[in-house]
């Protein structure tokens, strides 16, 4: 007994000592609040004329310069249920990694809250020129007098270094686009000339972060101390990172926008869950709650009295129904014409499906009217292509089905044709309440048109499994899927991988590509191929709009509603914005300030 007691006791003492030795977060000193000059317009001007994307309603106006001007000093605490794995953008793997690296790093071109490309470390958006041999040259002018947090000047050499880092052996960044760069030259310190082997239309999306030269030896990338203690040209630098608990960012004294950031520090706190996060933001324990979803609207509205608001950005993604053109019994067919889906290959059925769905009702009842109904594959940003919304017309849907030979001969409420019952399965990720509710509403709506939907949900790992893991989506083993996808700020890769016939996953291409409908349209293929070879944004947009219109005719997918990237924040936090780009809620964090 004595032995055991001693052991127990020693362990306890040890534990307490060890815990006490843990580095506690340094106390950021809160400076007395001073009123400074009236705020200049805080958002970088959108240089490019674009179709306007709507930023979701925010509960409090945040971008208006207040009369007293921004107060300086103070600390904002951000709650996130996920801990980032790294703060080095070329190792980043998840959206929280991407968002938090944007506190530390800025890029040549980034994406603003409306989904538009804007210059940040570049003086203006770069100019692209096609060369005679089919290549492309993109020239950036860099902002002068920019310094990294360690005091080194930001020059063209840093752009070269960033490129080398991305292309290095241990990099975990996507090299798409970068892999076509054959050389980067520096005619002078502030001019960057990037030469591409061939025309790479989405060139604006590249260089969205710049690493400082000398961040480390690229051969030992994985073990850099820089990965957890990085510095860049962004408004913040890392002071400490307590694993599993918090990360303290303090202001970069060398930040290039004079007088900014207004705050002294930003602390990122790892919280247990969104639910607990909601009580914490209501209590004022945190100022920002990252990564909410449309399902949180009820709770958010109820908390407005406690000083909680939300900001959202249209991401360009839609919650959608993905319809399978091919026979689910056939494993990964390359051409649905050879193995058509017994029901969904018929355009009339797909049209009837869309007409029988009251999208507005779904938005009003399940999303409290806070989002827009889905109309197009390209709803927002530089390449937005608005399309006519579909009309809800139950009688029309029924007439279409009757005309196509689908009748209810046995009077069981569900139509048949040639012995095939108009009954299909719908699958989504299990455990997602909003999606499950959406499915139930859809079942009810379609039943009125004599269409039966059978809900067969699966865990997300099963739904999104790869070809090698026998993924149902990759192999085409489904009728209808419900999930979210959509283009980023540059739609090129999304449109190609989701709607081009070359992106149908088959055994021959080892299941690459995301054209799960197995949709084939020669015009769409041609428009996408042509757009890829263009540098002119307007000309590309025109081709993409052709694609968007054609998709709405052929209906490989039915867009239900537009998704938002949402974060909650306390109303005393000013200038809080969300960008649909990788920077998410950290976009414009240099402009944040706390209203006393």
């Amino acid at each position: 007994m004595k032995t055991l007691k001693t052991i127990l006791f020693t362990m306890l003492i040890l534990a307490m000592l060890l815990a006490a030795c843990q580095p506690a977060a340094e106390a950021p000193t809160t400076e007395p609040i001073e009123a400074t000059e009236p705020a200049a317009p805080t958002n970088p001007p959108a240089v490019q004329p674009t179709n306007t994307a709507v930023v979701a309603p925010t509960a409090a106006p945040t971008t208006e310069p207040p009369q007293t001007g921004p107060a300086t000093g103070g600390t904002v605490i951000v709650g996130t249920p996920q801990e980032p794995t790294t703060l080095n953008p070329i190792l980043a793997a998840s959206s929280i990694d991407d968002a938090l690296t944007s506190l530390v790093f800025e890029g040549l071109v980034e994406i603003d809250e409306n989904g538009n490309f804007v210059p940040v470390l570049a003086a203006a958006l770069p100019i692209a020129e096609e060369t005679d041999d089919g290549g492309m040259i993109v020239t950036y002018q860099l902002l002068p007098d920019v310094k990294f947090a360690n005091g080194n000047a930001f020059t063209c050499a840093d752009v070269q270094y960033t490129f080398d880092a991305i292309m290095s052996e241990l990099s975990q960044a996507s090299t798409s686009g970068y892999s076509q760069i054959v050389g980067i030259e520096c005619p002078d310190a502030l001019t960057v000339v990037v030469t591409y082997e061939e025309v790479y239309a989405p060139y604006l999306r590249l260089f969205s972060y710049i690493l400082p030269t000398g961040a480390g030896d690229l051969a030992t990338l994985d073990t850099w101390a820089f990965n957890r203690q990085p510095y860049g040209a962004g408004p913040w630098m890392v002071e400490s990172w307590t694993a599993g608990d918090n990360i303290v960012f303090v202001k970069n004294a060398n930040y290039h926008e004079a007088g900014k950031p207004y705050l002294d520090s930003v602390i990122v706190k790892i919280i247990p869950s969104r639910e607990v996060g909601m009580t914490m933001i209501g209590n004022g324990e945190i100022h920002v709650l990252w990564d909410l979803t449309e399902a949180d609207f009820v709770a958010l509205d109820a908390m407005s009295a406690q000083g909680v608001a939300y900001a959202g950005a249209v991401t360009g993604e839609n919650e959608l129904l993905l319809l399978n053109f091919a026979d689910p019994a056939v494993d990964g067919p390359a051409d649905p014409a050879a193995a058509p889906h017994p029901i969904l290959y018929d355009l009339a059925v797909r049209q009837a499906l869309q007409m029988a769905i009251d999208k507005q009702l779904i938005v009003d009842t399940l999303l409290y009217g806070n989002v827009r109904v889905g109309t197009t594959v390209l709803p927002a940003g530089t390449f937005a292509c608005p399309q006519e919304p579909s009309t809800y017309d139950l009688a029309g849907a029924i007439a279409l089905l009757e005309g196509a030979g689908w009748v209810d001969a046995d009077n069981d409420g569900i139509r048949e044709k040639d012995g095939v019952r108009l009954s299909m399965t719908i699958a989504t990720t299990s455990g997602n309440l909003l999606r499950e509710q959406t499915e139930q509403v859809l079942v009810e709506m379609l039943r009125q048109a004599g269409i039966e939907l059978v809900i067969e949900n699966v865990p997300s790992d099963t739904l999104f499994a790869s070809w090698d893991e026998n993924g149902m989506r990759k192999h085409g083993d489904f009728d209808i899927l419900l999930y979210t996808t959509g283009p980023g700020p540059d739609p090129d890769s999304h449109l190609f991988s989701n709607y081009h016939s070359a992106s149908i996953p088959t055994a021959d291409n080892e299941g690459s590509g995301s054209n799960y409908s197995r949709y084939i349209n020669a015009d769409v293929d041609a428009w996408l191929d042509d757009a890829y070879g263009l540098t002119d944004v307007d000309a590309r947009r025109e081709l993409y709009c052709n694609v968007a219109a054609q998709i709405n005719q052929d209906l490989p997918r039915i867009y239900l509603y537009e998704r938002l990237l949402l974060s909650g924040y306390r109303v005393e936090l000013q200038n809080f914005l969300v960008s649909p780009g990788a920077m998410d809620f950290t976009w414009g964090s240099q402009n944040w300030w706390l209203k006393p």
Binding site: L4, K269, P272
Partner: protein, 323 residues
Amino acid sequence: MTQYILRRALQAILTLLVISVLIFGLISSVPGGIMSAYSENPDFTQEDLARLREKYGLNDPVPVRYAKWLLNVLQGDWGNSFTSKRPALQEISDRLPNTLLLMGSMFLVTLAIAIPLGIYSALKQYTFFDHLLTTVALAGQSLPTFWFGLLLIIIFSVLLKTPDGKPLLPSAGMMTLGQPFNLLDRLRHLILPVSMLAVISAASYMRYMRSSMLDVIHKDYVRTARGKGLPEKMVISRHALRNALIPIVTLLGLDLPNLFGGALFTETIFAWPGIGRLFFDSAMKTDYPVLMAVLMVYSFLIVASNLLVDLVYTVLDPRITLD
């Protein structure tokens, strides 16, 4: 005795090997995995994906990967976390003090509640107090941890406030941000998670203590002690309690690995940066070097504590000999 320990150690090594094969096999057969974060992203080219698979060593068949892992571990290299790139053992050692603090406090509180109450309940068998205690214990043992934790948060962090409108007790984390280390603050953060764990485990310890005490006080040697004219206090503490504690020591010994393993639910609910949460996060990301390290250390501690309990028995109870 030495021979016995040697034999058990050999068995332990074999057991651990089998465990490692099983766990490795299980983790490898989980769908998704580290690559799913990339393969869904249309910006990642086939070349990017191939390069990443190579970097993570996922191109080898599972048995080869296992063999490589085992060889490295035998040389003391547990590998680097897939996600944070830091050594798996460093990830563990960063969080170990937090878990030891949480679980150690929990054990102390549990014993401080359970042992006196268990004894009292046994001595006053079938009184009102005994009935009350056993009922409360049964209720405590039946509480779902997850639900109970949320209930504590709702009561103490949402409904109850300090006079200046702040929550009475913090709902998450182990320190108030932006303040230097402060013992009082640390204790405040400990109250909710420790209460959640202690209420539930004290309930079961109390029931064991009660029944084991009941068992003992009707034994002949206790009657003898009373017959000798010893005061009742002495009878209970010297003769009854020592024997009644044997099963409790077994339980404690078998619970010891939890000092390391932490409490998955508690750490997840209260954002306590310990091993339980590390395990949960790594499992969600299929970060197998960290998962393997946590599970193997945990398995080792379970095997070791079983052996320890058997050895402690011989000390506590001279009737037991090990061969």
